[in-house]
C-alpha cells in the first residue's frame, strides 16, 4: 500500500517544517530545504531527524 496522498500533502520536515516529496520509488520522503531523507517503513513515515540521512 502506498502512502496516502492526503498524508503526503500535509507531512512536513520535522527540522524545517516545509513540505517533503516522495523519492526512491515512493519508499522515502525528502526535504528540499535541508535535504534530509526520511524512510517509509511498513507504510509509516519515519520522521525522526536522528534517523534521516542527508543526501545531495
Amino acid at each position: 500500500m502506498a502512502i496516502d496522498p492526503e498524508l503526503l500533502e500535509i507531512l512536513a520536515c520535522p527540522n524545517c517544517k516545509t513540505k517533503v516529496d516522495l523519492v526512491k520509488n515512493g519508499t522515502a520522503l525528502k526535504c528540499g530545504q535541508c535535504r534530509r531523507v526520511y524512510p517509509i517503513k511498513d507504510d509509516i513515515p519515519v520522521m525522526l531527524i536522528d534517523e534521516a540521512t542527508i543526501e545531495p
Binding site: 520535522p14 513540505k19 511498513d42 513515515p45
Partner: protein
C-alpha cells in the same frame, strides 16, 4: 539498556506494546510493574467508548485520563495525538470527527506504532494516520490541526517548552489543546519526590501545575486551565512506600494530594 531518556522511554513503552500485542494485562502508565492496581491508569474509559475498540488498544492504554472526553470534537476536524501509543485515543477521536475528519497519531516507539496500526485495522477505521516522530519536532506544517490531544505523555519529554511551542505552531488560529497529564501540586521535598518517583515513573518528569500554565502561556496559548480530576492520596502509595521500607505515616503529610492527573486546556489565540 539505554541510558538516555529517549532510549529508556522507547525501551519501556516498546516492551509495553509487545506485552499488549501478546494479550497481556495492562500495567500502569507509569509502569511500576508492581502488579498492584494502579490508581492512575485504571477505569479511565467508559463502557460506551471501549465496546467498539479492539482489546489490544485498551490493553496498551498507558494514559492517565481520557482526553477525548475533555473536548467536543466536531465532524471534519483534524486532530493530532502527541504520543499516540496503542492508538486508543486516536481511534476514539476518529469516530467523533467522522469520515471527513482526520486523526494523526504521532509516536516515536516502533512497537507502539505497529500495535496501533493493527488496532486500526481491527477497528476498521480509515480516517487515521500514524506517524513516527518526536513530539518536540512535529512533522506537520504550521496551522494544520484543529485539536491537539495527548494522554500522559508530555511529562516524559525532556524539553516540554519545545513540545508546547510545537503544539502551538501546528494548531490553527482558534485551535485547542486538550491534554491529560500528571502534575505536581504544592511543595514536595526532594527526598520525598524521589520516593514518589519510584512509585510512579511519571512523577519524575511531571511539571508543577503553575509551571505548566507558565510554559503554555510562554508558547503563546491563552485561556489556560489546569484541572486536577484524580488526586492521589498517601493511601494510594501506602503499599509501595511500605515495601520500599519507608514510613508511610511519617511521609503522608508530604505526599498526600501532591500528585494528580489533570485535564489541561488552552486555546491558540
Amino acid at each position: 539498556m539505554a541510558t538516555d531518556l529517549k532510549g529508556v522511554i522507547q525501551e519501556k513503552y516498546g516492551e509495553a506494546a509487545r506485552r499488549a500485542a501478546a494479550g497481556a494485562a495492562r500495567t500502569g502508565c507509569c509502569g511500576t510493574g508492581c502488579g498492584c492496581d494502579d490508581p492512575i491508569t485504571t477505569n479511565l474509559y467508559g463502557a460506551d467508548d471501549t465496546a467498539a475498540l479492539p482489546a489490544q488498544a485498551i490493553a496498551a492504554s498507558l494514559g492517565c485520563g481520557n482526553p477525548t472526553a475533555l473536548i467536543d470534537l466536531a465532524p471534519g476536524q483534524v486532530v493530532l495525538d502527541l504520543g499516540s501509543g496503542g492508538g486508543i485515543d486516536v481511534l476514539l477521536s476518529a469516530r467523533r470527527v467522522g469520515p471527513h475528519g482526520k486523526v494523526y497519531g504521532l509516536d516515536m516507539t516502533d512497537d507502539m506504532l505497529t500495535l496501533a496500526r493493527g488496532n486500526q485495522r481491527r477497528a476498521g477505521v480509515a480516517n487515521v494516520e500514524f506517524l513516527e516522530g518526536e513530539i518536540e519536532h512535529i512533522p506537520l506544517p504550521d496551522a494544520s490541526v484543529d485539536v491537539i490531544i495527548s494522554n500522559c505523555v508530555i511529562n516524559l519529554s525532556a524539553d516540554k517548552a519545545r513540545v508546547l511551542r510545537e503544539a502551538f505552531r501546528v494548531l490553527r488560529p482558534g485551535g485547542r489543546f486538550a491534554v491529560s497529564d500528571i502534575v505536581v501540586r504544592g511543595e514536595i521535598p526532594a527526598q520525598v519526590r524521589r520516593s514518589l518517583e519510584l512509585w510512579v515513573g511519571c512523577v519524575a518528569g511531571a511539571l508543577h501545575e503553575d509551571e505548566y500554565t507558565r510554559l503554555l502561556e510562554a508558547a503563546g496559548f491563552s485561556g489556560v486551565t489546569v484541572e486536577p480530576w484524580r488526586v492521589y492520596r498517601a493511601n494510594d502509595a501506602r503499599q509501595f512506600l511500605t515495601d520500599a521500607g519507608l514510613d508511610v505515616d511519617a511521609l503522608a503529610p508530604e505526599v498526600d494530594g501532591k500528585v494528580a492527573s489533570a485535564f489541561i486546556r488552552a486555546t491558540k489565540g
